[in-house]
């Protein structure tokens, strides 16, 4: 069933679409996540290009100030919640069950539900453009700019409801993957034998499950303030607008690790493979990942030095922030030590991983600069911060994800990507990103604030801004090269075989793409690097012994997700009929889901 839609002479279009809507196969859901997130990535990139076109010269008027606000808000929100997170989720879905030797995730239908909720939430948020009311309060939506007094339109409502919906998807997926990784490991796959990507997925999901409830509450307060006239962020009623900042960043800083840890996991798979050496200090990498997750809860107020929390709070949050750089730095040294003395093979996945390390170090260094409260006051709200976040999230997360895409593409499709196009993609992207983001450090230090739709020539940053814009368009070009590579790979069809890179982990011991049941027989794992061990794992038979029952599809997860969407539209339009209708669909969906026969 899983491969049916991929073959050329598959059944009719309608039934193929239906099979994707009802699928509960983790691999197909992974593909859905990947394709959807990549489309959102292109959309967010397009927004970035319009922003950069507007900023290419001083006093430009390509877009209005108000539309500019919508652009940077949607660019940030899209890249964080609709691109990087779900691109990582594509790999959690596709790769993690393969790496632990499982046939699927613990709750296949919940997994489908997460995807549909994510998709509809993303569509709802972006539908706002058609009403000329895209969110415009910035991706961290500070109170009380988001109050009805200062934001009377539907813009902020789209944002609040969109994020609430995406939160549901994330928490559901988080629980699912925590249980999958802890509970569905193949015999012999002890926790300390898990591939590092799976470990980082586990840590990420722990953060998701704990951090998202906090922003849920912050958003509920905002929603109630806007809809029912509560006073949570109302200064007149004695409320404190800093409540939003504390709740948001209590979520927001762990969110940074939700974005970067999966990429770190991917890099930790790629570097050993292309160095022909086991990862240096496996346990240390795992423990520093855990430490980052824990320390990540104690640093949030470093986003708030400028609000005047007082010397004690400033000092505490400065120190914890500097402290968290240590486990991060440890990982960098581990990757370097892995390569030391290895037989390096500079294939595209490896290039992106090397790019990740180099650029993440740059972003990390400017991050440590912000951690000093005194220095931060000079940098906050300036382009210096924009430079930092893009080195971490494009230079770090996106390059890491592209490393993962090039690495696992052969496994997921069965075909190789073209190396020359891949290298072109990498170098264009690498040059583009440095050209786009490095000047922003200086632009910021020279005093250009972020989130302002234009600037004066007197500031003397015209040339650097133009450079940055050129860089952004080079990044855009590099992405087109990637799309061409995908098309080319589908045309050339160079077969990948089981293990084109000679990699060590379990997913490379089965055909590419894997059959819908993944493993003909559940493997017995005897070492951390089963494909590289002398103590050979018992070979996985090419044909299954008997028929393997995989769960059939279900449309109730998608129906339930639609119920949530309609409920949200009801809230948006303040229409009780819509809200009740959505609630009914949701309840029916959940009951039908709970009681339908479904083989596990």
């Amino acid at each position: 069933m899983a491969t049916a839609a991929l073959t050329v002479d598959a059944p009719g279009f309608g039934s193929r679409v239906w099979s994707w809507i009802t699928t509960t196969d983790h691999k197909r859901i992974g593909i859905l996540y990947g394709v959807t997130a990549f489309v959102f990535f292109l959309l967010g990139g397009l927004e970035a290009l319009v922003i950069r076109a507007q900023l290419a010269q001083s006093s430009a008027d390509l877009v209005s100030a108000d539309f500019y606000n919508q652009l940077f808000t949607m660019h940030g929100t899209t890249m964080v919640f609709l691109a990087i997170m779900p691109l990582s989720a594509a790999f959690f879905n596709y790769i993690v069950p393969l790496q632990i030797g499982a046939r699927d995730v613990a709750f296949p239908r919940l997994n489908a539900f997460s995807y549909w909720v994510f998709l509809l939430g993303g569509l709802l948020m972006n539908a706002s453009f058609f009403f000329g009311a895209a969110p415009n309060g910035g991706w961290f939506g500070y109170a009380n700019l988001t109050s009805t007094q200062y934001s009377p339109g539907l813009n902020i409502d789209f944002w609040v409801l969109g994020l609430q919906i995406l939160g549901v998807a994330s928490i559901a997926a988080g629980i699912n993957f925590l249980v999958t990784i802890i509970n569905l490991r193949a015999p012999g796959m002890r926790m300390m034998r898990l591939p590092v990507f799976t470990w980082m997925t586990l840590v990420t999901q722990f953060i998701v499950v704990t951090a998202f409830p906090v922003i849920t509450v912050a958003l509920v307060f905002l929603m109630f303030d806007r809809t029912f006239g509560t006073t949570f962020y109302s200064v007149a009623a004695g409320g404190d607008v800093l409540l939003w900042q504390h709740l948001f960043w209590l979520f927001g800083h762990p969110e940074v690790y939700i974005l970067i840890l999966p990429a770190m996991g991917m890099v930790s798979e790629v570097i050993p493979t292309f160095s022909r050496k086991p990862l240096f200090g496996y346990a240390v990498i795992v423990y520093s990942g855990l430490l980052i997750a824990i320390l990540g809860w104690g640093v949030w107020a470093h986003h708030m030095f400028a609000v005047g929390m007082g010397p004690v709070a400033d000092a505490v949050f400065s120190s914890t922030t500097m402290l968290i750089a240590i486990p991060t730095g440890v990982k960098i040294f581990n990757w370097l030590a892995t390569m030391w003395g290895g037989k390096l093979s500079l294939k595209t996945p490896m290039l992106f991983s090397l790019g990740f390390i180099a650029m993440f170090v740059v972003g990390g260094l400017s991050g440590v600069m912000h951690s000093s409260a005194a220095a931060d006051l000079q940098q906050t709200d300036s382009y210096f911060v924009v430079a930092h976040i893009h080195y971490v999230l494009y230079g770090g997360a996106i390059q890491g994800i592209f490393s993962g895409i090039y690495y696992w593409w052969p496994k997921m499709t069965g075909w190789m990507l073209n190396e020359r196009l891949g290298k072109t993609h990498f170098w264009l992207s690498f040059i583009g990103l440095n050209l786009a983001f490095f000047p922003m450090h200086f632009i910021g230090l020279l005093g250009m604030p972020r989130r302002i739709y234009t600037y004066d020539a007197v500031l003397g940053v015209d040339a650097m801004n133009f450079m940055s814009t050129v860089g952004a368009f080079i990044i855009g070009l590099s992405t087109i090269v990637f799309v061409v590579n995908v098309w080319y790979s589908r045309r050339e069809r160079i077969e990948a075989g089981m293990d084109p890179w000679g990699a060590a982990t379990l997913e490379w011991s089965i055909p590419s793409p894997p059959p819908n049941y993944n493993f003909t027989a559940i493997p017995e794992v005897v070492s951390r690097l089963p494909q590289w061990s002398d103590t050979e794992m018992k070979a996985i038979p090419t044909e299954p012994e008997g028929e393997i029952h995989m769960p059939g599809g279900s449309y109730w997860p998608a129906v339930s997700a639609v119920g949530i969407l309609v409920l949200a539209v009801g809230a948006l339009l303040e229409s009780l009929a819509f809200a009740l209708g959505g609630a009914v669909v949701l309840v029916v969906g959940i009951y039908a889901w709970a009681f339908e026969p479904f083989e596990m």
């Binding site: 988080g174 704990t210 998202f212 307060f221 109630f224 029912f228 006073t231 404190d240 409540l243 596990m600």
Partner: protein
């Protein structure tokens, strides 16, 4: 559904659904933690409207007792289902749902009374934080009651034998969690009022 078979295949030996539920409860702790923290931060900062003096501690003590007793009934319901006692399963499931509804009744009375006294969602920080915190908890109780009623119907359909006791166990986990959250809210909002 081959529940037993699934349980045996997990790496930890713990049923996946139970583990998922514990994880969900962990997540819920942060939800209520954020709500309760906000209540505490805003305590005593209202600039207008009724103060915490309008909280009726004796009455709420009774409703708290009702909710606590429902947890006891829940334990007995699970025991009855596990030993395959259909009659007492139904009695105790119905009792738990009834006591939960009783708690909701007290809350409905309390809310309307407060509104008459001039405390609404919009009145003040106290009104906003109080109604949203206790309302969220009430919403959780409501979902729990629906869940219990569903189990009750399943029992009448003879589809809640001892092999399905996990379903009751999960509902029980949820119910006890909601109960524990109320004990924290009762302590923080009512007993330690300022």
């Amino acid at each position: 559904m081959s529940e037993a078979a699934v349980a045996h295949h997990t790496s930890t030996g713990l049923d996946s659904r139970k583990m998922a539920f514990w994880t969900f409860i962990g997540s819920e702790c942060l939800l209520f933690g954020s709500l309760i923290s906000t209540y505490l931060v805003y305590q005593g900062r209202s600039v207008s409207g009724p103060t915490t003096d309008i909280l009726n501690i004796p009455l709420t003590s009774i409703s708290t007792f009702v909710l606590l007793m429902s947890s006891l009934a829940m334990v007995l319901a699970l025991a009855a289902v596990t030993r395959g006692d259909a009659l007492w399963s139904r009695v105790w499931l119905a009792t738990t749902a009834l006591l939960g509804s009783g708690f909701l009744g007290f809350q409905a009375y309390e809310f309307t009374h407060f509104v008459h006294e001039g405390l609404t969602l919009q009145t003040s920080l106290f009104g906003s934080t109080f109604f949203v915190l206790t309302g969220f908890h009430g919403g959780h109780v409501f979902v729990g009651v629906l869940w219990l009623l569903t189990l009750l119907v399943r029992s009448f359909q003879r589809k809640l034998g001892p092999d399905k006791s996990l379903q009751v166990e999960l509902a029980g986990l949820y119910w006890h969690f909601v109960d524990v959250v109320w004990i924290v809210i009762f302590t923080v909002v009512y007993l330690l009022r300022q």
